[in-house]
Symmetry: C2
Subunit: 206 residues, 2 copies
DNA sequence: TTCATTTTTGACCGTTTGGTCCAGTTTTTA
DNA sequence: TAAAAACTGGACCAAACGGTCAAAAATGAA
C-alpha cells in the first residue's frame, strides 16, 4: 500500500507548480515550455520542481489527466429526458463559460491534440469516443422523434466544440478583431446570443 | 534596387525547404520544430538550409506570410450582391475544402495564434481586422434587408471559422471519434451537410 | 536544546539546438 | 575548357535545456 503522508507544504507547492505549469504549457505548448519558465512563474527554484515531480513529462501528463474530467463533464450531463433545445443550449452555455473562465485549460488540450495527441491518444479512442458515442445516440433519438432536424450527431457535437472553444483557443484573434471598446463580458454575451440563434433556429423543426 | 537573380536550383531548393518546414512547423509548432527535422524532411543538409535562409525564424515567418493570402482569400470573395444563402454556403464550403486539402496550413496558423500570434499580431490587427470589418458590413446589410435573421456578424464569422477549421486543427480527435470504417471523403461530406443544415436553417428567416 | 527529517537551492553535467566556417564539389559563364 | 560563381556538407561552437547532487536551511518531534 502506498504511503499517504502528504504535508501541507507538499500540497501547497505541488499546487503552485501545477498552476504555473498550466500557465506555461498552455501558452507555449509542451516543447516550448521550459522548466525554468515554470519555476520562475511558480516563484520557486528549478531544483525544487524536480523535488516534487520526477520529470517535465510527468508534470505535463498530470496536468492533462487532472483537467480532463472537468473538461468532459458538461457533455456527461446531456440528458435525453430533457427538452432538446434546453439541453443543447445548456451544453453550449457551459462550454462557452469554460472557454471564458479557464481558457488556459482549453489551449492546453488544443495544443496536445494539434500536436497529434501523443499523450492522450488512448483517452481519445477510449473514454472520449465512448462518451461521444453515447450522447450521439441521444441526439439521434431526438432526431428520430422529430424533435430535431436531421443532422449528423457527431458533426453537431464537433460544431459545438469548435464554436465554443474558439473563444479560448483563438482568444488573441478574437480580441484583435472585435471592437476594442467592447468588454470581455459583452463579447461573450454576443457570442452566446449568436450561437443560441444559429443552433436553435438551425436545429429545431417548425 | 534589389537583385533579381534567382537560379532554378534556388527556387527548387527554397520550395523544398518551405514544404518541409510546413510539414514540421505545423505538427510541432515553432519551438518544437528543429532545423535538423526540416533538413531531414527536405532531404538536404542543415548547412544548406542556412545557405538559403538566414535563420529558423525567417523560414517560419516566410511560411506564415506566404500562406496567409491564400488563407484569407475565401472571405474576400464574399459578395453583397449574391444570394446570402449561396454566399455563406460558398464560404463554408471553401473553408471546409481548405481544411481537407491543406490542414497543415491551418494548423500552422492555429499554432501561431494559440501561442499569442507574436509574429502576425500586426496583420491580425491590420489587414485581417479590416477585411473582417468590411465583410461584417455586408452581413449586417443582409440582416437589415431582412434576408438573414439578426445575429452578430463578427460572431457568425468566428463560428464559420471555428466549425470549418476544426476539421484541420483537431484532425486526430475527429479521426479518433468518427467511425474508423468511414472514409475521409464521407466524413467531410457529412460535415458539409451538417454545417449546411445548421447554418442555412439557422440564418434564413421564413 | 538536540537531532533527525523534510525542504530548498546553487553548482554542475550531458545532450540538444540554432547557427558558423570552410574546404570541397558542382554548375554557370565567357 | 578554365575561371568564377553557386552550392553542399562535415566539423565545430556557444547557448539553452532537462535533469542530478550534495550541502545548506528550515521544520518538527523529543
Amino acid at each position: 500500500m502506498a504511503e499517504k503522508k502528504t504535508t501541507r507544504i507538499q500540497r501547497q507547492n505541488k499546487h503552485r507548480i501545477m498552476q504555473a505549469a498550466l500557465e506555461v504549457f498552455s501558452t507555449s505548448g509542451y516543447r516550448g515550455a521550459t522548466i525554468d519558465q515554470i519555476a520562475k512563474t511558480a516563484k520557486i527554484s528549478k531544483s525544487s520542481i524536480f523535488y516534487y515531480f520526477p520529470s517535465k513529462t510527468e508534470i505535463y501528463i498530470s496536468l492533462l489527466t487532472e483537467t480532463l474530467e472537468e473538461w468532459l463533464e458538461p457533455l456527461r450531463v446531456l440528458d435525453h429526458d430533457g427538452d432538446p433545445a434546453d439541453e443543447i443550449m445548456k451544453y453550449v452555455d457551459r462550454k462557452l463559460q469554460m472557454s471564458r473562465d479557464n481558457p488556459k485549460a482549453s489551449r492546453l488540450f488544443a495544443n496536445e491534440i494539434m500536436h497529434g495527441a501523443p499523450n492522450i491518444s488512448d483517452i481519445l479512442h477510449g473514454s472520449l469516443k465512448q462518451l461521444v458515442d453515447e450522447k450521439c445516440v441521444i441526439i439521434q433519438q431526438w432526431i428520430d422523434e422529430g424533435k430535431l432536424v436531421s443532422v449528423s450527431p457527431y458533426h453537431l457535437i464537433f460544431m459545438i466544440w469548435a464554436a465554443t472553444q474558439h473563444y479560448a483557443d483563438f482568444e488573441v484573434q478574437v480580441d484583435a478583431i472585435v471592437d476594442e471598446c467592447m468588454g470581455r463580458d459583452q463579447c461573450f454575451d454576443e457570442a452566446r446570443e449568436t450561437l443560441r440563434t444559429v443552433f436553435l433556429n438551425g436545429l429545431l423543426p417548425r
